[in-house]
């Protein structure tokens, strides 16, 4: 990476109190404080959020796409792991 370029930060925005922060994109910034300001200007211009997290992209450890088969294929034939075999009482909302 060009040394003069700002590092990349991943941006997570909470749209409403009680909801989780969701990944919305990334910004370049010199440090975390600036990243928060950039995220505010780039991703919350239309009142999309009430809280912002930023994380340096280089601090994220990701699974290797080349290993996707080993990671995710074994779950494919185990439909019984989905909670679709239970009948849910009508009174229970938001499940």
């Amino acid at each position: 990476m060009n040394e003069k370029e700002w590092p990349l930060f991943e941006v997570f925005v909470r749209s409403r109190s009680g909801l989780e922060h969701k990944h919305v994109g990334s910004v370049h910034a010199a440090d975390a404080r600036m990243a928060i300001e950039h995220a505010r200007d780039v991703y919350t211009r239309r009142q999309e959020g009430v809280s912002i997290w930023v994380v340096r992209s280089s601090d994220i450890t990701a699974s290797d796409p080349a290993e996707a088969d080993a990671f995710f294929e074994p779950a494919r034939d185990k439909v019984y792991r989905h909670p679709t075999f239970y009948s849910i009482p009508d009174e229970v909302k938001n499940l």
Partner: protein, 249 residues
């Protein structure tokens, strides 16, 4: 012109002219993120100007709306602080101008929230929230640049030295200011100056910048005496309206 109309136009024009200046950065800022950041500041300021110009039009009572006042007045009718019309220069120069005005508007709107003029109090309440962010942004950048590299320090110190001579106007009281302050419409400029000075000293200290000496000359943008830069700004801003009166899209 009544003192109240004069006063509201001064507030409106300072925000409008500064907003237009910041808009000139769109597409030219050093990074995409700063492009949006400066545009957001610009839009906040133009939004303030719209509310204030609408109010000014009502006080005037001649049926002029925000667009008429913004687009059809010549530079001698503009009442903005001369500092607001100064050209952008480099990014650091724009930031210096912004810090000086943000710290002023911060205290101004804080005081205007308690204005006896309910309309101004309401506008100030909204503008204050925006201005808090503006000051956070501009002061943050000035600290980075002042306390940054040798070159960034040298350049923002140079901008500070060249823009400082416009700051006396911010607190130079005239009859309009006195009348508005004694009616409880506007805060006392002497109080604002103390608070402004404290903000500026704090930022300059952290930015490792030297506060320049005050100069005796006072600009009078708020009485319509402008530097040569305002005419060009208005020519660009007003061109469309003057060439195609009443155009809309």
């Amino acid at each position: 012109m009544s003192a109240r109309l004069e006063y509201v136009l001064r507030l409106a024009d300072t925000s409008l002219v500064l907003g237009q200046r910041l808009g000139e950065w769109i597409g030219h800022a050093p990074a995409l993120e700063e492009d949006l950041g400066l545009a957001n500041l610009s839009l906040d300021l133009i939004g303030q100007a719209r509310l204030l110009l609408t109010y000014a039009g009502e006080i005037e009572g001649r049926g002029r709306n925000e667009d008429d006042l913004a687009m059809s007045r010549d530079q001698s009718d503009y009442r903005n602080l001369a500092l607001a019309e100064q050209p952008n220069g480099d990014f650091g120069h724009t930031i210096v101008r912004q810090v000086l005005i943000d710290a002023f508007q911060l205290e101004l709107y804080e005081g205007l929230q308690r204005s006896t003029d309910a309309r101004l109090a309401e506008i100030a309440h909204k503008a204050l929230k925006e201005t808090r962010y503006h000051f956070r942004y501009s002061a943050g950048w000035l600290i980075r640049l002042g306390d940054g590299t040798e070159e960034s320090h040298r350049r923002v110190q140079g901008s500070l030295d060249s823009l400082w001579r416009f700051t006396r106007e911010l607190f130079a009281e005239d009859d309009v200011d006195r009348e508005m302050a004694s009616a409880g419409v506007a805060p006392q400029l002497a109080d604002l100056e103390l608070r402004w000075s404290a903000h500026i000293d704090e930022v300059l200290k952290e930015a490792t910048l030297q506060r320049p000496a005050d100069v005796p000359y006072v600009w009078h943008g708020k009485r319509g005496q402008h530097t040569e830069h305002l005419g060009y700004l208005l020519a660009e801003m007003q061109f469309l309206h003057r060439a195609y009166p009443g155009a809309s899209w």
